[in-house]
Amino acid sequence: MLNVSVRRDLRDFSLQTDFSVGKGETLVLIGENGAGKSSLLFLLSGLLSPDSGHISLDGQLLYDSRTRVNMPSEERDIGFVFQNYALFPHMTVFENVAFGLRRRKVPPAEIRSRVDENLALLSLQNLSSVRADRLSGGQRQRVALARALAIDPALLLLDEPVSALDALAQDRMRSELGSFVRKSRIPCIAVTHSFRDAASLGDRIGLMEEGRIIRSGTLSEIMAGRNDFLNRFFCGCRQDHCHQ
């Protein structure tokens, strides 16, 4: 279970959120560009430090301003898929996916089997020895996912997780992500601009505005109380066109 109550002053506003995400649950964050969605993921991953508050994951404190606990990002066991994938371009697909396991000193035989397993999960077996800078956008996104999943994360953070895939692959990926999160019983937070992501991935949806989650609930609860942004979001004025 992830418990979050943090505050951080950003350039234009103060990010202030208070929420929990259960094991096997996916919280999808939606909102305008610059609402603080990606910054929140950075705060949770430890790549950005809150000004105050606390973050705990499965009872372990990741951050607590009162007791001055701030676990470094590299010790948090969080799988993070970045918006621009951040694959290491000089490494092969295999090396990218194995990177986190090598840092954890996992034995080579186990690295091989875990990487192969994750590559198979995302249909990447044939690209194992291809350098990351030779991949297409969709392939990069899948490798980024495989890399995040390979470390058996305790929390999964996804920034636009399937946006670069074609429609068919998106559906497959959403379904696989959903089953992975439920099966591994880890909390997952996904940031998206896509109605389909929100509808199919999100057990709960949080609407962010100027650093705050101003509304949170299931898809039907969120749809019931529309505002301008939600009207545009659900009526398809964004990436997925019309979903009415």
């Binding site: 430890g46 470094p72 969080i78 970045f82 951040a86 694959l87 290491f88 840092r103 890399r147």
Partner: protein
């Protein structure tokens, strides 16, 4: 109207070609003059001159050592200045760039006043029987002094251009600072670092003013190629031209290597 337009375009092309030709002629003709001044036989004969050979070996050895030291010290400095904010960072940067604009003779004199037998630090070291000025070590120190900014500037620019998301991704995957630096950052900026090192090496190889002031001009010990060219000018002009041609060839290779390296950067 069409003819007029074509005429203007032709004038522009002719003007551009003329300016480029003039500049190229100014650079290339003096270089060619060196090549035309001696025959290949004279060039090869001069290569066996002990002064030419000693200068060549000393220059290559000292410039290589200087470059290695510059890489070892300059890389962390460039990294810190590229990634971290600290009080006085701009001053540090300016001071590192200072040798670029200081006349080399002034640099040599400054080194002599610091590390000479009566210098600030040299006087203290001399008490322990350590003498730096007018030794091969002084040649290396003079080369480092004048060529370190070439590497640090290029390295810092390379680090600054690298998207921080790679470090963030590595950290989120459990990589601490040192492994991230060596396995992710260095491979991604290595072209820029190699280009900087090549520029530094070339500057060290051509160093004259600071070396003659601080290290003197002793064959086999402190007489590098530029100093040997200057010395040979007084008597054996063939040896002087041979060394000059070697330096020109090295410079040409250096520029080609730098251009090649800087084109090799990859991003994802």
């Amino acid at each position: 109207m069409l003819v007029n337009y074509k005429g203007k375009r032709m004038v522009r092309r002719l003007g551009g070609g003329l300016v480029i030709s003039l500049l190229l002629a100014f650079i290339v003709i003096p270089i060619l003059a060196l090549f035309f001044r001696i025959s290949p036989a004279q060039f090869i004969a001069s290569l066996s001159d002990p002064m030419v050979w000693d200068a060549l070996v000393l220059s290559l050895v000292t410039a290589s050592i200087s470059t290695v030291i510059i890489i070892l010290i300059g890389t962390p400095v460039a990294w810190i200045n590229a990634r971290y904010q600290y009080p006085g960072r701009e001053i540090v940067d300016t001071l590192i760039d200072l040798p670029l604009v200081i006349p080399p003779a002034v640099a040599g004199l400054a080194l002599l006043m610091t590390f000479g037998r009566t210098g600030l630090i040299g006087g203290f070291l001399y008490g322990f029987g350590i003498s730096i000025a007018f030794t091969t070590l002084a040649v290396i120190m003079a080369q480092i002094f004048v060529s370190v900014p070439f590497y640090v500037r290029q390295a810092r620019a390379s680090f600054e251009q690298l998207d921080q998301v790679y470090e963030q991704a590595a950290r989120s995957l459990g990589s601490t600072a040192a492994p991230t630096f060596f396995t992710v950052i260095l491979p991604l900026v290595k072209s820029g670092l190699i280009a900087g090192a090549i520029m530094s090496f070339a500057r060290a190889l051509g160093e004259f003013g600071a070396t003659i002031m601080f290290a003197g001009n002793f064959q086999g010990r402190t007489q590098t190629m530029p100093l040997a060219i200057y010395t040979a000018m007084q008597g054996d002009i063939d040896a002087s031209i041979t060394l000059s041609i070697i330096l020109i060839l090295i410079s040409f290779i250096v520029i080609a290597l730098v251009k090649f390296q800087l084109r090799r950067d990859v991003r994802c």
